[in-house]
């Protein structure tokens, strides 16, 4: 017979009444442990915030790029045409290609060094000459002003990439210096720009927009940027490949990119951040689930008479389980409702920062809000669901216990664990917490997080201390700067003409420096691989490079002309293995290269390869090195040598210190992980203390019995502490193993996602051993106060109702 429901409401009324009853029951049970519930809520809120932020960053980076691309009417494909007699014909050829809908962009562009006035750091920037009056009126395809305004025609003003401005600390209204062929040009920063044509890395030649008349005064032989919008944007990659082939037939060797490449760079640049956020969210969620388990265990003990009463009046075990699930789910939902929007807002702020400014960031945030709210909602519902499942699962066993047992009659009640070991002639009694999983998980999660954090910090420090681990063997990078008139004393040849130091002169300068122990030369070239319809960057190596310890991941490094070693992503994209042969093309020139192996390549997301100089010049006859990678003698100060080389170069050298500088996203994620480790560590300590206190409370009947038969307070306290320490040893072991696996997995994922390949964590075994030793001791110490309180209380006080 079906139970009657409220009159007139039928099945709905019965459901509503049942739900209300369960809510009352959940409140009566879980309300007895507000501290545990609060802790669970905190963990769940943190989890929801991190997962929501991770999902928004993951989804938001490409979405925000799309928004920027649409908002600025950016081209789908663009080409950099070099100065060439047939450049106009090449541009016309692009305009006439099938599939072209419009050509919104045609600008002169040159890569020139830029620095803040008085600043030490110089960054190569891609400087565009723009029609300032037209830009003020109509904007420029692919570029947006995010702070300040467009340059005023006729004024020495520039619009500077927002990320570059942040890196050089250039305020709007501040001064910057562009080193051009005709000397230095000092400009006022009129505003910041972001561009849909530039990758998000600060070392990727960020954009600077100059009025065209000023541009002409600094750039003697500019390239021409031609950007096209396509009828079918999805054809952009194929269009770029086909256009480069067509231009090569005209004899014009042009670089080209599509918006799809830029979108991939955006995802790449944010995937690591999103990954760290997801990892943190998962740890917080696990922590929250563990605390939920503990909260239910606590409630089951404290509220066993409520449970027995409920069972006595007809509450089924399934309803009891549902009450626990409902209560934990409700707390989880409240927590997630607070945490998830916080994560959404944090992601928006991140996004705004990534795209450089308040105005554009807010607008992109609005774009995300329009179609991107679901990650926050999904994170909230997921976290609440996880809380409900954890609560229901934890309450399941208790709910199934007999009603009489729940009443504590006949000595029944909660299950207890008591270990008894004989050690020689003396017994060793260990009181193990009733629900060992809770403190064990708390310890394991905190240890895993700490292990991951110290491993990350140790690895980053090692990379900075020993960049050779990443295939960086040099301390200084030297490049030549073209100037109008060679200012080197006594050198008057070619005065009045743009010129650079000859490579031999750079070699001589370096060889003469007492602190330079060696160097090799490099140049870069984008080549096509027709069989794979892909383009890769080729690094030509010249000079003293063969003896360097390249990080080879498979096969071997380049040894002779006619070979190429590839980065891991290039290897994957081209679908080749060591020993295979690939044909590469640069314009009309083609070369068949044998793949010697894979190596750790930091550049261009690993879509690159290295060849000997002879191979490079076969593809590009007459090529000159563009950079000298300088190794210093042991103990030499890089900054001193840098200044000395700058001085000896007489203004015609750019010298930068090299080494591993973690990307901003990785630095931020590292800080996030440190903060998260601290938060989870604090939560774990609270959870362990609270868990042990609750465990002691659950064991009060056993403690009372053991007191009655003569166990002393010291013995009881020690037995509890030893029991907790034993569990903590297991939790610590699990945590160390998990932390090591997480680190290995994290670096493997970072290697794969970044395309660098071969990144491996460097484990600080000493620190890990210290953590492994300290964690059980800390857990045992945490167990002593509650155990001592219970042990020293009069025997009938704790177990009075049972004895």
């Amino acid at each position: 017979m079906r139970a009657p429901g409220p009159a007139g409401w039928g099945a709905l009324g019965r459901w509503a009444a049942g739900l209300k009853a369960l809510l009352h029951l959940a409140r009566a049970l879980l309300g007895r442990g507000p501290a545990a519930l609060g802790l669970m809520g905190l963990a769940m809120a943190v989890a929801a915030m991190l997962i929501s932020a991770g999902a928004h960053v993951w989804r938001g980076a490409p979405a925000a790029y799309d928004a920027l691309h649409d908002a600025t009417g950016a081209p789908h494909a663009w080409f950099f045409l070099p100065e060439h007699p047939r450049r106009e014909a090449a541009a016309a050829h692009i305009r006439a290609m099938p599939g072209v809908a419009a050509v919104p962009l045609e600008l002169p562009v040159a890569t020139l060094p830029l620095a803040g006035v008085g600043g030490e750091r110089t960054v190569p920037a891609r400087v565009y000459g723009v029609d300032a009056a037209g830009a003020s009126a109509q904007g420029i395809s692919g570029f947006a002003v995010v702070r300040g305004r467009w340059p005023t025609p006729g004024q020495a003003e520039a619009l500077v990439d927002a990320g570059l401005a942040a890196a050089l600390s250039l305020p709007v209204g501040g001064k910057a210096v562009i080193s051009g062929l005709h000397g230095r040009l000092e400009v006022r920063v009129a505003g910041y720009t972001v561009s849909a044509l530039h990758c998000p890395y600060p070392d990727c030649a960020p954009a600077v927009l100059l009025p065209r008349e000023l541009f002409r005064s600094v750039a003697a032989s500019p390239q021409t940027l031609v950007g096209v919008r396509l009828q079918d944007p999805q054809d952009a990659s194929a269009f770029v490949f086909a256009a480069r082939q067509e231009l090569a037939r005209l004899g014009v060797l042009a670089d080209g990119m599509s918006f799809r490449d830029l979108k991939a760079h955006q995802r790449l640049s944010h995937s690591l951040t999103a990954g760290f956020l997801f990892l943190g969210g998962a740890l917080a969620l696990a922590s929250g689930a563990a605390v939920a388990w503990h909260a239910v265990a606590h409630a089951a003990v404290a509220g066993r008479r409520v449970m027995a009463m409920a069972r006595a009046i007809g509450c089924t075990p399934r309803q009891m389980t549902a009450a626990f699930a409902l209560g934990c789910g409700a707390v989880g939902l409240l927590a997630a409702a607070a945490g998830s929007p916080a994560g959404w807002l944090a992601a928006q702020a991140w996004q705004a920062g990534s795209f450089g400014g308040a105005a554009q960031g807010a607008r992109l945030g609005a774009e995300l809000a329009g179609g991107g709210l679901w990650p926050a909602v999904g994170a909230a519902l997921g976290v609440a669901g996880a809380a409900a499942v954890a609560g229901g699962w934890a309450g399941r066993g208790t709910a199934r216990a007999g009603a009489g047992a729940a009443l504590g009659a006949a000595g029944g009640g909660v299950p207890v664990q008591l270990g008894l070991r004989s050690a020689g002639s003396r017994p060793l009694i260990i009181l193990r917490p009733v629900r060992s999983l809770v403190p064990a998980l708390s310890v394991a999660i905190s240890v895993a997080t700490a292990a991951g954090a110290v491993t990350l910090a140790n690895t980053m420090a090692a990379f900075e201390r020993e960049p050779a681990l990443l295939g960086i063997f040099h301390e200084l990078t030297v490049e030549r700067v073209a100037v109008e008139r060679p200012p080197v004393r006594g050198d008057t040849s070619g005065a009045g003409e743009p010129s650079r130091l000859p490579p031999d002169a750079v070699d001589a300068l370096l060889a003469a420096d007492p602190d330079v122990s060696g160097f090799h030369r490099e140049a870069w070239l984008r080549v096509d691989v027709p069989a794979a319809r892909e383009s890769i960057i080729v690094r030509g190596l010249d000079g003293d490079w063969r003896g360097l310890p390249w990080r080879v991941l498979g096969g071997r490094f380049v040894a002779e002309p006619g070979e190429i070693a590839l980065g891991t992503t290039a290897m994957e994209r081209l679908g080749v293995e060591p020993g295979d042969t690939i044909e590469v093309a640069f314009g009309p020139r083609r070369a068949a290269l044998r793949v010697s192996g894979a190596y750790l390549e930091l550049a261009n997301a690993g879509i690159a390869g290295a060849v000997a100089w002879e191979t490079f010049t076969d593809l590009q006859p007459g090529a000159e090195p563009t950079a000298w990678l300088v190794r210093l003698a042991p103990g030499a100060d890089p900054e001193t040598v840098r200044r000395r080389l700058l001085a000896s170069g007489g203004g015609r050298l750019s010298v930068a210190t090299a080494g591993f500088e973690p990307p901003a996203a990785v630095q931020a994620a590292g800080r996030l992980l440190d903060g998260l480790a601290a938060l989870l560590g604090a939560m774990a300590i609270v959870a362990v203390v609270h868990g042990v206190a609750a465990a002691v409370r659950e064991q009060r009947r056993d403690i009372a019995i053991l007191k009655a038969i003569g166990m002393t307070p010291v013995q009881l306290t020690a037995a509890t502490a030893v029991g907790v320490a034993a569990i903590a040893v297991v939790g610590t072991a699990a945590g160390i193993v998990t932390g090591v696996l997480l680190s290995l997995g994290g670096f493997w994922a970072a290697s794969a996602v970044s395309g660098i390949g071969g990144l491996e964590p460097l484990f600080p075994w000493g620190q890990l051993a210290a953590i492994a030793a300290a964690a059980p001791v800390a857990a045992a110490i945490a167990a002593v106060p509650p155990a001592a309180v219970a042990a020293w209380a009069p025997a009938t006080q704790d177990g009075g109702e049972d004895i």
Binding site: S425, I429, K707, G710, M711, T712
Partner: protein, 232 residues
């Protein structure tokens, strides 16, 4: 210990429970002497204070006032550690609801006080098995309490109380949770122990149970109202 020696010497014991401002007197000046080898039954209705008196004698609870010596120990002056050692060495306690440890088997439950007292495990095991044999439950040694009947559990509890050969066995309604047949068996076991010289103080509200004792004391409103004097 000679049969004339006092195992329990209580004079003017008082004890009250408090619930906020309200005070509930449980013992109001109890005088009680029990000599070695006696079997004393404490009778009285619910709330008369008999269980409180038993807990005070066991060192599980502390009197508010009066003097109390059990097995030569001045209990009110002892701290918790000393009381624990006193319980371990001098008294055995049998509870109405058995209070066995559910996750240990019957044999280990019985062995536990001996192990706590430093008895070598082999000796403790042999002694526990002998006691279980005496109580006719040796075949149940490997079973855990939830697998035993009420009468069987109480016999395990009696074995646990006796394993350290205490000077005083205290039993709180030992037959209160078992059927009549089991109750008779338990009382016969206690009588047999007493016949071997074991001093016993038993709390009950059942005259039939009290009839097994050699001396019966009546408590009412926290005071002994009859038979307080120890026989010479």
């Amino acid at each position: 210990m000679s049969s004339t020696e006092l195992v329990v010497d209580a004079r003017g014991l008082t004890k009250a429970y408090r619930d906020g401002e309200i005070r509930y007197p449980a013992l109001r000046g109890v005088d009680l002497q029990v000599r070695a080898g006696e079997f004393v039954a404490l009778m009285g209705p619910s709330g008369s204070g008999k269980s409180t008196l038993l807990y005070v004698l066991a060192g599980l609870d502390r009197p508010d006032g009066g003097q109390l010596r059990v097995a030569g120990h001045d209990l009110p002056s002892m701290d918790e550690t000393a009381l624990a050692l006193f319980r371990r060495r001098c008294v055995g306690i049998v509870f109405q609801y058995f209070n066995l440890l559910h996750h240990l088997d019957a044999l280990t439950n019985v062995m536990l006080p001996a192990l706590l007292a430093g008895t070598p495990p082999g000796v403790a095991r042999a002694r526990a098995l002998a006691l279980l044999e005496t109580l006719d439950i040796a075949s149940l040694a490997a079973k855990r309490p939830p697998q035993l009947s009420g009468g069987e559990r109480q016999r395990v509890a009696i074995a646990r109380a006796l394993i350290n050969e205490p000077m005083l066995l205290l039993a709180d309604e030992p037959t209160g949770s078992v059927d009549r047949g089991a109750a008779e068996h338990i009382l016969d076991l206690l009588a047999a122990a007493n016949a071997r010289g074991q001093t016993i103080v038993l709390v009950t509200h059942d005259p039939a149970v009290a009839g097994h004792a050699r001396r019966v004391l009546h408590l009412r409103n926290g005071q002994i109202v009859a038979g307080a004097a120890a026989p010479a």
